[in-house]
Symmetry: D2
Subunit: 134 residues, 4 copies
């Protein structure tokens, strides 16, 4: 869905949710960027078109959050929590999809379905953009 | 209290909670380390004995969390949330003092008073240490 | 030339050499990735197709060097020197184009023209790849 | 010698030169800070009094260079070269002790003996400090 809207998927580049979203985006002809923690391009999953190798371990979560116009958070892992925290520090809007980190703070919206999450993310990214420009 | 137990205070080195804890530790004759985000030692508050200048912005939160045997989280800021997330990724025990981020997860304890927070942190750090060694 | 060989340009995303190489690659229809030090996508030059926002200041030089299969170093700046150093720490081959950092070490080749630099970089990247796989 | 002048040794915290300088400083009663690349305090050599755990791999070289008022570079390794580059980016004076990276640039002095290196580093750090303050 992200790909169909002409947007680029940026993620941590490894497995699980990061692989699932990249696989979906590639299947839809979209661009995918994976920002991996290790020192090798081979760490990325096969659906990452552009691998950014940071060599900085979990600090790469800052780059993942900072590189998005909006952040869609999936799952209850602590890496995801760090990315939510960084997104909010930097003023990026956050959409939490499904169960996971329900922090109940301003700037963090909930979505029940992927459709709703992508719609919200695109809309909130646009609003953040307008706030920045005006 | 941390200083009186012979432990070192590691924090982000800037103002507010970071300044208050460093001031207290110095007053008690303790060592303080401040890991600042910018590129200048002058960014640190006056109670930081050893300034580590990272030049890495908010990525320095990883180093703050990683450098502790246990993490005491004070306040509801997103920088604190990033440090809690990193502490748990790395297996450091977390004690949340007062209101703030009550995430309700294993490895994160609550404390009502500073005394309780320091006692808990020292005990949990010892347990984490024993788990690592055995 | 990099774009015409089907390779992707990865650079620091800002001005001068970083802008010149991105402009050339885009004109040839190639992909460009800019890994910027600040916290905003707006920092990137207009010829960067994919902006990776690190928020990590000069530490992003590690990611720039690590993300390439080979590194072409242009100019005598200290940021370039840091990238050469990181490339060699990580085993990436380095080609120095024109005047600049002539360190005279194994793994660092000199090129007199852009054509020679790209040819060398592609060949050395292939050799490094074969060494890694065998 | 650094310790005897009342200055603190900051280094990468691991073996070889980093261990030798920390051992010497501790023997003279000085403070030592080791900024390690991995995720564990146990990575530091035994003469590090204060371990800063970055979890950021080679990106920690930026913090090592940035945390000094002056940088004394020993040996010809690429990690040392990255630290020289970062020191100069940030305006820290550099003293190269013995053989190693003789880059022949302004802001990088040579020293033949440890005595000369420490004298130069302390003097240059003071000059840099005065430039910053005036």
């Amino acid at each position: 869905m992200i790909a169909k809207m002409g947007a680029t998927v940026v993620c941590g580049g490894l497995g699980e949710v990061m692989a699932a979203v990249a696989r979906g985006a590639r299947a839809a002809g979209g661009a995918t960027i994976g920002i991996v923690p290790g020192e090798s391009r081979a760490d990325a999953n096969p659906w990452i078109e552009h691998v950014v190798v940071t060599g900085m371990g979990h600090a790469r979560n800052l780059a993942v959050a900072a590189s998005g116009d909006a952040v869609i958070a999936v799952g209850g892992g602590y890496g995801t929590l760090a990315e939510i925290a960084y997104a909010r520090i930097l003023g990026r809007p956050v959409v939490v999809l499904g169960p996971g980190w329900d922090l109940g703070r301003e700037g963090i919206e909930r979505a029940a379905t992927p459709e709703e999450a992508v719609d919200l993310a695109v809309r909130l990214a646009g609003e953040a953009d307008r706030r920045r420009l005006h």
